[in-house]
Point group: C2
Chain length 130, copies 2
DNA sequence: AAGTATATACGAAAGGATTCGTATAAGCAA
DNA sequence: TTGCTTATACGAATCCTTTCGTATATACTT
C-alpha cells in the first residue's frame, strides 16, 4: 500500500495538497467544495483521488469518524523543495541559478521582495547558508 | 493538426527539446543517439514522439530530404518562461518570489552566481527591469 | 539487379491519470 | 421503522503518454 515519501504528486494531486496545506486537515467534502470554486469536479472524483493519495502516502487519513479526515503527509516547503529540484533539472538542465535569473527578470519584484532577496544573499555570503 | 504555440511539452518531449536547443536542427537518429547516452530508448519511440511534437507545433520539420530535420519551434528561454509561470502557479501558488527564495536558500550558489544576481537586482532597482 | 541498411508511417499495446457510475453503509428525520 | 441525505468503496470508461512492432519506401553496396 503506502509508498515511500519521495512519491511525486500529479498536478491534480498537488491541487489537493495546496488546499490541505492552506486549510489543514480536511474532509473530502471540504476539499471538493474548494476545488469547485475553481472548476467543476465531481465528488467521487475528488474522493478517488484522495484515496489514491492516501495509498501513495501523499496524505494521511483519520478514519475514526464516518467522515474521514485527510492531512498532507509532507510539509509544503519540503514538497516544494522536491518539486523545484526536479523542475530545475528538467526545464533548466539543472541550473537553479539560470532559473532564478529568469524568474527575477520577468516577475516584477517589488522593492520589499528585492530587499528580502538581498538580505538572503548577504546571509549566504557570510557563510550562514543553511 | 498543428496546435497553437502555448502547447506544453510533456517531460519526454521536453527532453527532446533540450537536445534540439543544445545542438540545433537535428535528425531523429541524432536525437535518439543523444537520448540513448542517458537511457535506453527505441528508435521508433523517439520518431513517434517527434512526429507528435511536430503535430503539436512544438517542433518544425524540414522534409525535403529523406532524413527529416527537426527544429525547436520556440526558443529555450521562451519555453522556460512559459513552464516557469505554470510551475510557480501550481507549486508555489503563484508566488515567484517564494520560489526564488527557496531556490537560493538551498542551491549552494557560488560567489559568482550571487554576484550575478546582485547585479541583476541593481538593474531592477534602477528601473531598468525589462 | 539483389540484398542490406536506414528512413518514415501507421497502428496499437501498455501504463498512468482522471473521471464518474453504481453499490453499499451510516447517520438523521419524520 | 421507513425513507432521505451523505459517507466510502469499487470498478470501469476515457484520455493522455510512452513504447514499440510491422509495413513500406528510399538509398547504398556489390
Amino acid at each position: 500500500m503506502s509508498q515511500n515519501q519521495t512519491t511525486r504528486p500529479t498536478e491534480s494531486e498537488l491541487e489537493i495538497l495546496q488546499i490541505l496545506w492552506e486549510h489543514g486537515p480536511s474532509s473530502v467534502r471540504f476539499v471538493n467544495d474548494k476545488l469547485n470554486e475553481e472548476r467543476e469536479v465531481g465528488y467521487t472524483t475528488t474522493l478517488k483521488l484522495m484515496q489514491i493519495m492516501a495509498d501513495k502516502g501523499l496524505v494521511k487519513r483519520n478514519t475514526e469518524s464516518r467522515t474521514h479526515i485527510y492531512e498532507a503527509a509532507a510539509g509544503e516547503s519540503d514538497m516544494q523543495q522536491r518539486l523545484l529540484k526536479r523542475f530545475v533539472d528538467k526545464a533548466f538542465r539543472g541550473s537553479a541559478m539560470k532559473m532564478v535569473m529568469q524568474a527575477l527578470g520577468n516577475h516584477e519584484a517589488s522593492a520589499e521582495e528585492l530587499d528580502e532577496i538581498k538580505a538572503l544573499i548577504r546571509r549566504l555570503e557570510s557563510g550562514e547558508g543553511d
